[in-house]
């Protein structure tokens, strides 16, 4: 009986940067055997810290896919794999002789997942699928900023969303294969995946109300506040029960009968005036951040201090959720990083090891394909493998 959900499943991961490798890592930690195929020049993301997370738990082989023998080795691996993941520019895999149709002919059960910026059709398919360009076109920066000035966002939403969309879609295709016996091609674009994070406003109907957005929060009770010591907190009074509890806790029961709070917490109605907002801002300037947090939390009102990521990494609850792990990474020593974000009671996922150095498993994988040590030496000499 399989110990992990994806035990026995083989994955060939041609991914680079974030989206493809993230999908491969998620599958690996639920039990799949994932082989990362890296180019001789290396995954350009190797210089980033994130590389260590998105490539852990995988095996690694370095292949020059531009050489016919490199392609032959890749095709050999593809013939016996369950899953192929790639996030090259559209058309690159076809040019390398590793396109879906070719692999499917040899392996009709293969689930082949392609991730690209904008897909291979439509005017934007000419635009390189970089994170920033996808987010620009997907209105993320425009919506975040003030009306006349977009804001660049630091977090890589587009790649993260596409990688996770790929991960669940691949497993869904495995489920379908259990019934049909056939594999299929899955196409993910960063553009669609990013827009699918915008369901709150990515819609149009008669009567749709678009809230006036400010990057500190538009609602007077669901927003960032600055406190007496200059530190900030977020007050998240997210339903009317909390609105009542909050006003009682701060001694402003008088507001309960006032029309100033109409439409709160989320302002499904336009606010009556900016008055409540001004009063709230003044109120929060009367105590330090930690005094406010104590008062709010002891009254059961959702609120949190605004912390840095370093402070967050020391937070007890992160440990309680088993979300902080330390792994020995060759060349770097002990590296602290995230654990497994989804917990299965019967088939728990686990980290199988650090990100492999380039070509760590080349010889072992070639042997599995029937190459002898002399062949491996020759392939190294000819720079087909590393």
């Amino acid at each position: 009986m399989p110990a992990k959900a994806l035990s026995g499943i083989k994955v060939l991961d041609f991914g680079q940067y974030i989206a493809g490798p993230l999908a491969g890592m998620m599958l690996a930690e639920q039990g799949a055997e994932v082989i990362k195929i890296e180019r001789p020049q290396g995954d350009p993301f190797r210089r980033e810290d994130g590389f260590l997370v998105y490539n852990r738990s995988k095996k690694n082989i370095v292949l020059d896919l531009k050489q016919p023998e490199g392609q032959k080795i890749a095709l050999g691996l593809a013939g016996e794999t369950d899953i192929v993941i790639e996030n090259f520019k559209p058309g690159v895999m076809e040019k390398l002789g590793l396109g879906y149709e070719k692999i499917k002919a040899a392996n009709p059960r293969v689930v082949y997942c392609s991730i690209s910026g904008f897909g291979d059709t439509g005017p934007y398919s000419r635009i390189p699928g970089y994170e920033q360009l996808v987010e620009t076109l997907a209105t993320i920066y425009t919506e975040q900023g003030y009306a006349t000035r977009p804001t660049y966002l630091v977090l890589p939403f587009a790649s993260m969303a596409a990688g996770l969309d790929a991960a669940y879609s691949i497993v869904a295709a495995l489920c379908a294969r259990e019934i049909t016996g056939r594999g299929q091609r899955i196409e993910i674009t960063l553009f669609k995946s990013t827009l699918s994070l915008c369901r709150g406003y990515n819609i149009d109907f008669n009567g749709m109300y678009r809230m006036n957005w400010v990057p500190t929060g538009s609602s007077p009770v669901y927003r960032i506040f600055k406190c007496a010591d200059g530190k900030h907190l977020f007050l998240a009074v997210g339903n009317f029960k909390f609105v009542t509890m909050f006003l009682v806790a701060i001694g402003r029961e008088d507001l309960l009968a006032s029309d100033l709070i109409e439409g709160t917490p989320f302002l499904s109605l336009p606010p009556k005036s900016g008055q409540l907002m001004i009063q709230m801002k003044k109120t929060f300037l009367t105590k330090t951040r930690d005094e406010w947090i104590d008062l709010l939390l002891s009254n059961g009102i959702p609120a949190a201090p605004i912390l840095t990521i370093d402070q967050f990494m020391k937070y007890e609850q992160v440990k309680a959720n088993d979300m902080i792990k330390t792994i020995r990474q060759p060349g770097k020593g002990m590296v602290t990083q995230m654990g497994i974000p989804v917990k299965h009671s019967l088939t728990p996922g686990s980290i199988k090891g650090p990100a492999a150095s380039a070509g760590r498993d080349t010889a072992a994988i070639l042997r599995r394909l029937g190459y002898r040590s002399n062949d491996v030496k020759r392939l190294r000499r000819e720079h087909v493998v590393k």
Binding site: D49, T136, V154, P156, R199, K231, F266, Q337
Partner: protein, 392 residues
């Protein structure tokens, strides 16, 4: 056939994170039944979001605090493969709808539970909304700095729960197909906030971690940022490789910058970042943003014009050609344009199954399916055990 065509889901969730998960399962073909309280999902008044997170599902409403209604829920769950819930820890237990209880009704049940902070530990029972985790996890400070923290408009931690959760549910469904076993799958907003930041949530000796977050940030460097054009609109320019920078210099007619010692290498450009940004902004102000973006792409420089959502939904040629949007007939608002399914499957294509349900819009339909007679259902309605709406 769709991947999850034979899967039925009982969806007890409210707000964004939980309903978004049921929404993806429904896109993948599952029959997702949203079960609401007599008052309904508190997110219903936020119509745009409610439709976005609940389209594709059927909806029933019942008073789960009453034992007779609970019996109806048990009968429904006996026909379901998956339960999804995101109530406060303890709430489902009080209603007799926790995993341990339901497992007795259906031993192979997959029970997906999404909480705020988790279930154990010092803050395990605290309630929390998305921005609580934007605040505490460093997302706000990493973006704007501690003096100007930024609240992300996209409910990021909420929005990533459905993605992580669909993966967790899909793995559990696959395991069940292979072994017949069910299990519990746990998610939290806290874990979601870590996952999104996983490339920063890293620490080791000798690490050189720089935060670029500051007030009103428009990019990372002169060749990786937003610029304004003649029309006041903005576009993003991103030179990822040397060849992009060279093509950019040719595009602006200043080829001499390629060999200019201030800008000839990535290191030099970093030291003279402000000078380069000033040169570029001065040139870019002579043509509209959209035109620059187009011409830069043709010149071999990665660039894209900032858009507004109205344009994207109604006019964007790429969205039209690739079928980004679809139109559904919403029972409340009529003609509604919204994003079509996210993923393309070649052999088991998926689609949006139906509009978002009215509160109790499919109560009779679902109760008939699970074996109640019309007379029994009429009695349940009379006793206010269940609620119906619309044509149901």
């Amino acid at each position: 056939m769709k991947p999850f065509e034979n899967i039925r889901v009982a969806d007890f969730t409210t707000m964004i994170a939980g309903p978004g998960l049921g929404r993806i399962l429904s896109d993948l073909g599952a029959d997702v039944i949203k079960i609401e309280t007599p008052e309904g999902d508190t997110y219903r008044p936020v119509y745009a979001g409610f439709i976005g997170y609940n389209r594709g599902k059927r909806g029933i409403a019942m008073d789960l605090t009453r034992p007779e209604a609970r019996e109806i829920a048990y009968k429904l769950i006996a026909t379901c493969h998956v339960v999804v819930e995101n109530s406060r820890p303890g709430t489902m237990k009080k209603l007799g709808l926790d995993y341990e209880t339901l497992k007795k009704i259906r031993p192979d049940l997959i029970y997906v539970s999404s909480t705020a902070f988790g279930t154990k530990g010092p803050d395990g029972n605290r309630p929390g909304y998305d921005p609580i985790f934007q605040a505490i996890s460093g997302q706000m400070a990493e973006q704007g700095g501690l003096d100007f923290p930024v609240y992300h408009k996209i409910a990021i931690n909420d929005e990533f729960i459905p993605l992580i959760g669909s993966f967790g549910a899909a793995c559990a469904i696959f395991h069940k197909m292979r072994t017949g076993q069910g299990q519990m799958v746990e998610l939290s907003l806290l874990n979601s906030s870590i996952t999104i930041q996983s490339s920063k949530f890293i620490k080791y000796k000798g690490q050189n971690r720089k935060s670029i977050g500051k007030h009103d940030v428009i990019g990372r460097s002169a060749t990786d940022r937003l610029y304004q054009g003649l029309d006041g609109k903005w576009f993003y320019l991103y030179c990822a490789k040397e060849e992009h920078f060279h093509a950019l210099c040719r595009y602006i007619g200043m080829e001499e910058l390629i060999t200019d010692p201030r800008f000839a290498t990535a290191g030099a450009r970093k030291r003279h970042d402000n000078e380069l940004a000033a040169i570029l902004q001065e040139v870019f102000i002579y043509a509209p943003a959209g035109l620059h973006a187009l011409l830069l792409i043709l010149a071999g420089v990665p660039a894209a014009a900032a858009q507004d959502i109205g344009h994207l939904i109604k006019e964007d040629p790429h969205c039209k050609e690739t079928g980004m949007y679809t139109t559904i007939d919403d029972p409340l608002f009529g003609k509604t344009i919204l994003q079509d399914v996210t993923v393309k499957f070649s052999e088991t294509p998926i689609n949006i199954q139906r509009p978002a349900p009215l509160h109790g819009g499919h109560t009779k339909e679902v109760l008939l399916e699970i074996g109640y007679s019309k007379e029994q259902i009429a009695e349940f309605i009379a006793q206010k055990l269940v609620m119906t709406a619309g044509k149901d």
